[in-house]
């Protein structure tokens, strides 16, 4: 039933501030495209059906699952991955420094996804409560930390971002 020829198409999009023009397989998932074609391996792939949240990135500024989008769909979009978050090789972002301070990661597999969610959500609203943070973190599975340190880091980041 499947046709053997893989169909390709040219897309233009912005990845972490850089314009990219590239040919993609029509059926390729955005998560695989970022990792295997563009080498942005900070985006992790866990469940591939939207449950675990490890592959969360920004599409047009909104935290989204990259395993639930096709690479071809980001034509004319802005995409940001975890590689865009720190301001240089040495300087961590507010959220990253708080993760470090509160030991909010152990194995680190879920961390890029969580940081991408928080770096959208925490900048979107003022006066974010701990309940809001727990609610938004429910979209990520972390099997190491038990979440309490992640919540602490997120609450402190929210305060710092608010104060800015």
């Amino acid at each position: 039933m499947n046709e053997k020829i893989i169909k390709k198409q040219l897309i233009n999009f912005e990845l972490n501030g850089k314009k990219i023009e590239i040919e993609v397989d029509q059926r390729m998932l955005l998560s695989d495209f970022l990792r295997d074609v563009l080498g942005k391996t900070g985006t992790h792939v866990g469940c591939e059906h939207g449950i675990c949240g490890a592959c969360t990135i920004h599409i047009n500024g909104r935290a989204s699952r990259s395993c639930l989008a096709f690479a071809i769909q980001v034509d004319n979009c802005k995409v940001e991955t975890i590689e865009s978050i720190s301001k240089g090789d040495s300087e961590l972002s507010i959220i990253q420094s708080n993760f470090k301070k509160h030991f909010a990661l152990q194995c680190g597999f879920c961390t890029p996804g969580i940081i991408m969610t928080l770096s959208d959500y925490l900048y979107r609203k003022k006066n974010i409560s701990e309940k809001d943070i727990k609610d938004v973190l429910s979209g990520h599975l972390c099997r190491c930390t038990g979440y309490s340190s992640i919540i602490k880091a997120a609450v402190e980041s929210a305060k710092e971002i608010n104060a800015k």
Partner: protein, 272 residues
Amino acid sequence: MKPVNFSYKCPDNIEEVLSILSCEKENGQVLAGGQSLIAMLNMRLLYPKVILDIKNIESLSYITHTEKGLQIGANVTQQKLLEYENLNEVSPLLHKILPWVGHYQTRTRGTICGSLAHADPSSEIALCLALLKGKVKLISKNQERLLSAEEFQKGLLTTACHSDEIIEYALFPKLEESVGVAFNEFAFRHGDFSLLSVAVLVSKDSISLGVTGLSDKPYITAFPLLSGDQIDDALNDLAWKLHGEDDHIAPSSYRRNLLRKIGKKTIKEAMK
């Protein structure tokens, strides 16, 4: 966990979508947010030949608030509706249920109409549409149909939408201001498929109750105004009537108990 090979089309007007669908019929698949569809494709539960992405169709990206209620185009994401100005006054039930629909990270792409088209039995949006007696507008190359929620959702992942049709919009009718509204659900993790959801509307003389988790689509029923033990009895009767089925997650008795507990809590909240 990768989809089959397909050809991707991204038309910028609805006429082109309808004409492709009228040729491709069941080989064509409309893609909106993709938050259920792409998971289904990844698991190869679906293998369409043509994927029709409607993201560029501006005419489907609107929310209109009229006397009749909220009319929501096929491209409107769940998060966009949740952030709609004064949603808690315009449609208090939608405002209550939307935070329970998936996670923030899926609501940013997942659409209202896509959720209806997917017709998951535990869908909060389908429950809301059914309880509010909402409507779904379907269009194809040759005809237009306006179906009630009851006519639209046939059962488990099944709707009345033909293979050459697309949902143009869903209409969520307006409630009178005096109507009390409440919603609760139980899932092992917030945002997962719920084991049981209950939505309740309380008006001057009756209680309307919608429930998912015990049947293959939202079940809607109405009671006269009840109090105290009468509520327990009515919910117990309803639990046994719907019965539910045992599955790998929970036995049916567990779900019936959830209805008794969550049903009562939700009715009481709506009566306040």
